[in-house]
Symmetry: C2
């Protein structure tokens, strides 16, 4: 007998029929002897409908009122799911974010959860009821309705699991787990039984379709085991992918958990910048002021020994704007030249095994060299090695690495 | 400078464009120097959409959850209207029923308002903000969301006006006031400048399209002046119909305020019932047990002096079922015969002037006789005289009375 928090996204509750499927799954968990708290998103399409309505009325809409409007999406779903459960003889009660006092700060449209009152939920669970909670929403200290921003329902689920000290937080979605890489690029990609929080964070670009990275951070912070499962598996036998803290026994696992990649990168270099303190601040400060996010950053001493070359990557959509900003920075810093390339991609090996095994990087570089792939940038962290390569090599690079690091499915 | 509560129904907020019109009207009232609290219904069609969704999932839906679902309709509108006001530079804040603590009993789907906390609203009004409140909804003492049932937004508006001691509660709808009778039956029907609460209650069958009778009772109890106005009058010049307590000066007004009628009546008579105490209880008890509402009731001594004839009317939809029940009652009471007629209508003269003027009834009966209309039942109250006639005479009867009692528009 465990306490499980289950979260169902928009497509999982996208119709009356799908809501009944969710109710059946919840009842199955109850029959296994578990206490269940369910967090739901708005029905697929509903949030877009509300956003369009808002835009018709006011653009941009007042943030406080936008939250009042958007939060109705999840409220519709909790009512419907609780009804479905009750109609099947399963006692249930729905709650809005306000009703279970999901207290957030007052940053409308992207509020952060501060505190949750689990009194109501505990009482219902003790009385044998399923608790159905609206994801994505809360209230601030003044009682204003807030929303948590993109992927907020995942965050709600993790926060509830933490507040209730749940045994597991299950994220139901339309895929059956986290894969070693994107199966559309590598058909032999395998579903991972388990990854650590750290790996999942580094695999963000793979996981983004599955669960919001913010909720993984949250789960890691409060050590809530997360499990990604498919809500379309009507046999209830899938075990999905468990995302949890690293354990001693994990040392035996594969060196590499997965290969992430990002197609939307662009790379910019400021060449021949006089090598003085504060260079990085001057360059990145100007970029940040324009609200452009920088991903990889590399600084190297220039060939002449008195200047430095500064390279970084941004989202491809921000490439043109970043180039403009760099022109100004170049004049100011009296740099020699700007170099840019928006036809690049980033490929990353991720695995906690890296920490205790040397030679991963050299295996990686050799595998790429064997395929004739030139590496344009390298950046490493404790459990990740990222390289930037020409975009035409993306599939080739990912497949080669997938094979070299033994990630391919058994034939 | 007055404090005005304005209520807008579903068609008045049925689209982004209509919501902007409402915002313009609210701003106009602000510019006149008034403080404004706005109560809104769900956008037209929205409640039906939500009801259909619920029926798809569970039929009947659990009452508590049905309220969670339905209450989103009004929440969407408050968000949109507050956004529209803000986008036009008018400070505004929206509140759900829960947020302004519209405390109700726990009768889901038709809750009654017990108490309203006007603290938030007062603070906003004092700060120069328009307050936008979701109609139709509240919370019970345990924090469960409740809804007030049909016409609930009118009730919310009146309750807020009472709680805030507002100067006037304006009900905006798609007609420009209350008429002396249905203009589709009598093209010469006139808009009434003023009717008393009592008259409005008796004119229920006319007023039902305009505002819910329960809100009139509420307004009468707390002496809140109600005004029915058209939200489609873009000149803002219409004065609608004021519904308020009777004043001394009203004594000068017309004898008759209006003529109501009801097409959906059916009449049943139990003839030759032994004249014993408890007869009425036996007959009506059986009807009430089947949840059938009885309208007019007449009991007359029978022609033989030892039996009585018992006549009453019900909604035409309940006619067949009532006949069945009467068969059983007839056997039990050893009555002689059952008589029924479902081709009848009720026509009522309403006016507080009746109280101080004799001869109204005889004028009414003479007018009907002059048209060759046979009266089948008569029932009177202090400010109303109702007659039942053959349904084919409805239009003739209403028009004749409208002219005789000087209700026709000046040519």
């Amino acid at each position: 007998m465990a306490l499980i928090v289950q979260k169902y996204g928009g497509t999982s509750v996208g119709s009356a029929e799908r809501i009944h499927k969710v109710a059946d799954r919840v009842i199955h968990a109850r029959q296994q002897g578990h206490d269940v708290v369910v967090v739901v998103s708005a029905m697929s399409g509903e949030t877009n409908r509300l956003v369009s309505l808002a835009k018709e009325v006011a653009d941009p809409p007042k943030a406080r009122e936008f939250d009042v409007l958007l939060s109705t999406g999840e409220q519709v779903t909790i009512g419907l799911l609780a009804m479905a459960l009750e109609s099947k003889g399963c006692a249930a009660r729905s709650y809005t974010g306000a009703q279970v006092h999901i207290l957030t700060d007052s940053t409308h449209n992207k509020a952060r959860i501060l505190e949750i009152d689990n009194k109501h939920m505990r009482a219902d669970l003790d009385a044998g009821r399923v608790v159905v909670v609206a994801g994505f929403q809360g209230i601030d200290a003044e009682g204003n309705i807030t929303t948590l921003g993109r992927g907020g329902s995942d965050t709600t689920a993790v926060a509830l699991a933490a507040a209730l000290k749940a045994d597991e937080c299950q994220i139901y979605t339309d895929v059956d787990g986290v894969y070693t890489t994107d199966p559309r690029v590598v058909p032999k990609a395998r579903r991972l039984d388990k990854v650590t929080f750290e790996e999942m964070l580094e695999l963000a670009s793979l996981g983004a379709k599955v669960l919001q990275i913010r909720s993984v951070e949250f789960a890691s912070k409060y050590n809530v085991p997360l499990r990604v499962l498919s809500s379309f598996d009507d046999t209830y036998t899938g075990t999905g992918t468990l995302i949890a803290a690293e354990e001693e026994s994990d040392m035996e696992q594969a060196l590499i958990s997965g290969i992430a990649f990002n197609r939307d990168e662009a790379k910019l270099t400021l060449l021949g910048v006089p090598d003085q303190p504060g260079i990085a601040r001057d360059i990145l400060g100007a970029i940040a002021a324009a609200n452009i996010e920088v991903d990889m950053i590399i600084q190297n001493i220039g060939t002449d020994g008195t200047t430095t070359d500064f390279t970084f990557t941004v989202h491809r959509n921000d490439y043109a704007k970043t180039l403009e900003i760099l022109q100004v920075v170049k004049e100011k810093l009296k740099a020699r030249e700007i170099n840019g390339d928006d036809k690049i991609v980033k490929v990353s090996l991720v695995g906690v095994g890296m920490r205790s095994h040397a030679g991963i990087a050299s295996t990686m570089f050799r595998a790429l060299a064997d395929e004739g792939i030139n590496i344009k940038m390298i950046s490493t962290s404790e459990i990740k090695i990222s390289v930037v390569v020409d975009e035409k090599y993306l599939e080739l690079a990912v497949r080669a690495l997938h094979t070299v690091f033994d990630l391919d499915q058994a034939a």
